[in-house]
Amino acid sequence: MISYGQHQFPGKLFVVEGTDGSGKSTQLALLYQWLKSEGYPVFFSEWNSSPLVKDTTKRAKKRHLFTPATFSMLHATDFADRTERDILPPLKAGAIVLADRYIYTAFARDVARGCDRSWVRDVYSFAVKPTVAFFFRAPLNVAIDRIVSGRPNLKYYEAGLDLGWSDDAEESFTIFQGKILDEYDRMVSEFGLTVIDASRSIERQQREMRMLIAPHLDRKKAGRAR
């Protein structure tokens, strides 16, 4: 078992992070299209996507079975499956792996939900350190507007309704997202996250992303997967 920062792989791992509604998934999709069109072997992996854990998470959310500790632990299980299945093998094979949300999502969310900061970091110490981790930083009100206006009903855990901050879903969600944003902010220097100002235009953010990952790309690999 190799720890965070100790893996040596020919592949590259780029991850996007940020609060809900920060536009990170849109940016990652654009990056994916670009890298594919350049002919790089690209593999995409997203949060909460383990086929082994999916049903358990779904059932637990529906039946409100989670506590902060089990919420954290089951998401770590999901992430471990993603790592062992979708991240390690392609990186070993020299591919580019793009991850929509990574360990920093767990660090922000679980700590906001009351878990111990260093305990959560220890749990995820098996994770591969990304080549670049982008943090799409949107002002809190922008992110909240994007989510609340796009969705009539906030989900129970999404709004943090199990944490007893407020019975009102929107108010609880706002408190929760504020805590999450605080955690992200403190991780910028701790993990060297690359901050992207998510309030600017989509095109400008994408240009910046491409510029920042270009030095990490091996031009020899381009064109092979075309």
Binding site: M1, L52, V53, T70, T77
Partner: protein, 263 residues
């Protein structure tokens, strides 16, 4: 209340009236038999008992079972899935019962999980940090058997046969289930011996008859509960009552036990 490491989130340190008693041991050593016997005996003595065991959580039991039927369960994923199951039972079963004054009997605890992780090459400091959320039990009784060969005899005579995971087939240690089982269980036994000192297990020689081991366990449990030691009649009455409860289907162990107990 004491935790091994970082406590569970949101749990205040408190003194609870219950007792947490762990029965540990490798596969096929008789843990479930002894847990069942102990439960009946404790109930007869007027204790409310909660019994629990690995992969019995409402949250994760089904998922783990399904994951184990396939071939894609990775080593790290497996440890975390087990930890999810453990924490769910700790928070939703064990802690509430301890607060309510129950004797909580658990068939395996974190030590089996740690042993299984270690024989799979998982970082031992990492797995211990994860299980730092566990409560330090009032007692851990380790049912010890010397060799994996002895386990095989028990396994075959019970009619259970070899299981893929109990044989450590995911580790590719041998040509077939038998070879793999011997190697895997031998490694587990070594780890358990190491954990005995680390976690202060009370070791019981499980190669002896069920009756002898059960009597030893009862004596040891009375010490944990700070109660007078059981008498011979006490043991006998429990066995009888258990047989009555079971009606027409007493298990082999219980029949055997009963015969030996009668004058």
């Amino acid at each position: 209340m004491q935790f091994y490491g970082t406590p569970l989130p949101g749990v205040e340190k408190e003194v609870y009236p219950g007792k947490l008693i762990v029965i540990e041991g490798t596969d096929g050593v008789g843990r479930s038999t002894h847990t069942a016997l102990l439960r009946t005996w404790l109930e007869a003595r007027g204790h409310a008992v909660l019994d629990t065991g690995m992969t019995r959580s409402i949250l994760a039991a089904r998922g783990i079972k399904e994951a184990k039927t396939g071939t894609t369960l990775g080593r790290v994923t497996m440890q975390l899935f087990y930890a999810t199951d453990f924490i769910d039972r700790l928070e939703n079963e064990m802690l509430p019962a301890l607060r309510a004054g129950f004797v909580v009997l658990t068939d395996r605890y974190i030590y089996s999980a740690i042993a299984r992780a270690e024989v799979r090459g998982i970082d031992s400091a990492w797995i211990r940090k994860i299980y730092g959320m566990a409560l330090v039990p009032d007692a851990v009784f380790y049912l010890r058997i010397k060799t994996a060969q002895q386990l095989v005899e028990r396994l075959l005579s019970s009619g259970r046969g070899f299981d893929y995971w109990e044989s450590g087939m995911d580790l590719h240690l041998g040509e077939d289930l038998y070879d793999s089982f011997i190697e895997y269980q031998s490694r587990l036994l070594k780890v358990f011996d190491r954990l005995t000192g680390e976690y202060g297990f009370q070791v019981l020689n499980a190669s002896r008859s069920v009756r002898t081991v059960a009597a030893d366990l009862r004596h040891a449990v009375t010490r944990v509960l700070d109660e007078p030691a059981p008498t011979a009649e006490d043991n006998l009455s429990v066995i009888k009552s258990r047989r009555d409860q079971n009606g027409a289907k007493p298990t082999t162990n219980l029949v055997d036990l009963n015969k030996k107990a009668l004058p």
